[in-house]
């Protein structure tokens, strides 16, 4: 097991701590937007996809990579757009008065 791996583990553990803490404090009001926001964030896989497609080592890897890029981009775009669309709706003050 390389140190590289262990430090990856460190990062993973700490990020999970942060994640659990942060999410627990998200207001109930916003759980639906939260779902689509995290859905957009999970599209971070695009990073791996780009590397794969960009390094273009074999036709196979490139194609799979490109498909992955396409798939994740869809998530990013739709995920963020719909989250924002939902959040736009939350108003505090009385609408007409």
């Amino acid at each position: 097991m390389s140190t590289e791996f262990i430090s990856a583990l460190f990062v993973f553990m700490l990020a999970t701590f942060v994640g659990l803490d942060v999410i627990r404090r998200v207001s109930r009001l916003l759980h639906t937007p939260l779902m689509s926001l995290t859905n957009a964030i999970s599209a971070i896989a695009v990073v791996g996809a780009i590397l794969l497609a960009g390094e273009a080592e074999t036709p196979l890897s490139t194609t799979l990579g490109l498909i992955a890029v396409f798939a994740s981009t869809t998530n990013i775009v739709s995920g963020f757009l719909i989250t924002d669309r939902m959040l736009k709706m939350f108003k505090k003050r009385e609408p007409r008065s």
Partner: protein, 460 residues
């Protein structure tokens, strides 16, 4: 990774964290989205400047196509949000799976497949492909292109566990001898199949729980990818995602007073459907006229929306009702049950869409103490979440699930189309209570009538 890229990743991680932090309050939530977008842009940019990237053209094409496909996906009506989320989890899972697959076939010949990398890849593709098919099934059930009722057969759980067990054995085998390339496709196939079988026995209304579970799988797949590619950003973002999905599903299970295993293997919403035979008691029903009268003469009204409001898209009518009553000085509040509707926060979004100010929405625990003083509890297409059986009837499948105490209000009015049960498939004594009046019909229509009544009166 060049230092530049790594640093961009660092910033991006921080932004993702803030993005989620800011979701804790509606006032900062949109800033949260912005932070998320910037973080994602940085992530992509940082990756593109990575020296080993040689072809850009096709990537750009993929971006464009992805965007083109993505934009319309964000136009879906709010009732379809669960499906959309499921669908894009499918995409996410697919992406992870494909990357894992490609990496395997890249490293196989060059002998770069260390045990550790192989293990990471195995986890990545298992989670990835499982999430892909599983989410597709979930989307199908929610969109009702697939039968929403749980599909069960003999030894179902036995078969499922057998499958996943087999998959794990193969994975371990591969870890110890990655060169057995014929095992790899089998692993993929098993993951895909398992995803389908896992969802089959789960009822349509349990899908939200399943979706956020799949969300956390998608996150973990990204983490695994991060270990495969030794990429910290993938790990952190994935971890944030994984924990989010996990916590949301836990919250839902708690609010339904059910366990994960019960959700995943309980085939809920089927057994109980049988128990849904209503004893022949009589429920009083009222006309819109009477109802409108009662509402107008009340000092305080609590509106309890449920899945029915979502189905009927009645939220805008309800806004009108709310404004009419408010004009008359009636104190109107909305009682939101954590699992009312079909996804967490479902009601909040719909009511927000109808521009009902969110400071009128009260959470279950905050409203229940007041219910005794409330004049009228108006139940709009809610059922299980106001079923008193959850409080006292040990035998009830929803016993112990916290509910909104609508029955404690002086008068209860319930809008639904029939005496049919709700998601849990059980009868609801609330409708037979002496202080309850039924308003039969589609929620949108009925509330519309109520509003007309009031409007009418305000005129002459």
């Amino acid at each position: 990774m060049s230092a530049a890229t790594e640093l961009t990743y660092l910033v991006s991680t921080a932004l993702f964290i803030f993005s989620l932090k800011w979701m804790s309050d509606p006032r900062t939530a949109r800033r949260g989205v912005l932070a998320g977008v910037v973080a994602m842009v940085l992530a992509v940019a940082g990756t593109l400047i990575h020296h080993e990237i040689i072809t850009y053209r096709w990537i750009v094409v993929a971006f464009v196509l992805g965007a083109i496909a993505g934009v319309p996906l964000s136009w879906v009506p709010l009732t379809a949000v669960p499906q959309r989320t499921a669908l894009s989890h499918a995409f996410g899972g697919l992406a992870a799976g494909l990357v894992g697959t490609a990496k395997y076939y890249l490293w196989l010949p060059t002998g770069e497949l260390t045990k550790f990398r192989m293990a990471a890849i195995a986890i990545e593709i298992l989670l990835g492909y499982l999430t892909c098919t599983g989410s597709l099934m979930a989307a199908g059930k929610l969109q009702e292109v697939l039968p929403t009722r749980p599909i069960t057969y003999r030894n179902q759980n036995f078969i499922n566990f057998g499958l996943i067990g087999l998959a794990i054995v193969i994975a371990v085998w591969l870890v110890f001898d990655p060169s057995r390339s014929y095992l790899f496709p089998m692993l993929i196939a098993l993951a895909l199949i398992f995803g389908v079988l896992l969802i089959l026995p789960i009822g349509g209304a349990d899908m939200p729980t399943v979706i956020s579970l799949l969300n956390s799988y998608a996150g973990l797949a990204a983490v695994a990818m991060g270990f495969v590619m030794e990429n910290k950003l993938l790990i952190t973002a994935g971890a944030l995602d994984g924990s989010s999905g996990l916590i949301l599903s836990i919250i839902m299970c708690r609010a339904m007073n059910r366990s994960f295993t019960n959700v995943l293997f309980g085939a809920f919403g089927q057994v109980q459907a049988a128990a849904g035979v209503a004893e022949q008691r009589t429920a009083k029903s009222a006309t819109p006229e009477d109802a409108a009268q009662i509402l107008q003469n009340a000092d305080s009204v609590v509106i309890i929306p449920g899945y029915g409001m979502a189905v009927a898209q009645a939220q805008h009518r309800i806004r009108d009702l709310y404004e009419h009553l408010a004009k008359r000085g009636v104190d109107v509040r909305f009682a939101i049950h954590p699992v009312a509707g079909r996804m967490p926060g479902h009601m909040n979004v719909l009511l927000a869409e109808a521009e009902i100010p969110y400071d009128r929405l009260v959470e279950m625990d905050d409203i229940n103490p007041d219910m005794g003083q409330v004049d009228v509890a108006l139940v709009v297409g809610a059922n299980d979440v106001v079923n008193p059986a959850a409080r006292h009837d040990e035998r009830s499948p929803i016993y112990g699930m916290p509910i909104i105490d609508a029955d404690k209000a002086k008068t209860v009015m319930a809008i639904k189309r029939s005496m049919n049960p709700g998601f849990a498939g059980i009868d609801n004594e609330l409708y037979y209570a002496d202080n309850t009046l039924m308003l039969f019909g589609d929620a949108k229509a009925v509330v519309g009538d109520l509003v007309k009544q009031m409007a009418g009166e305000t005129i002459h």
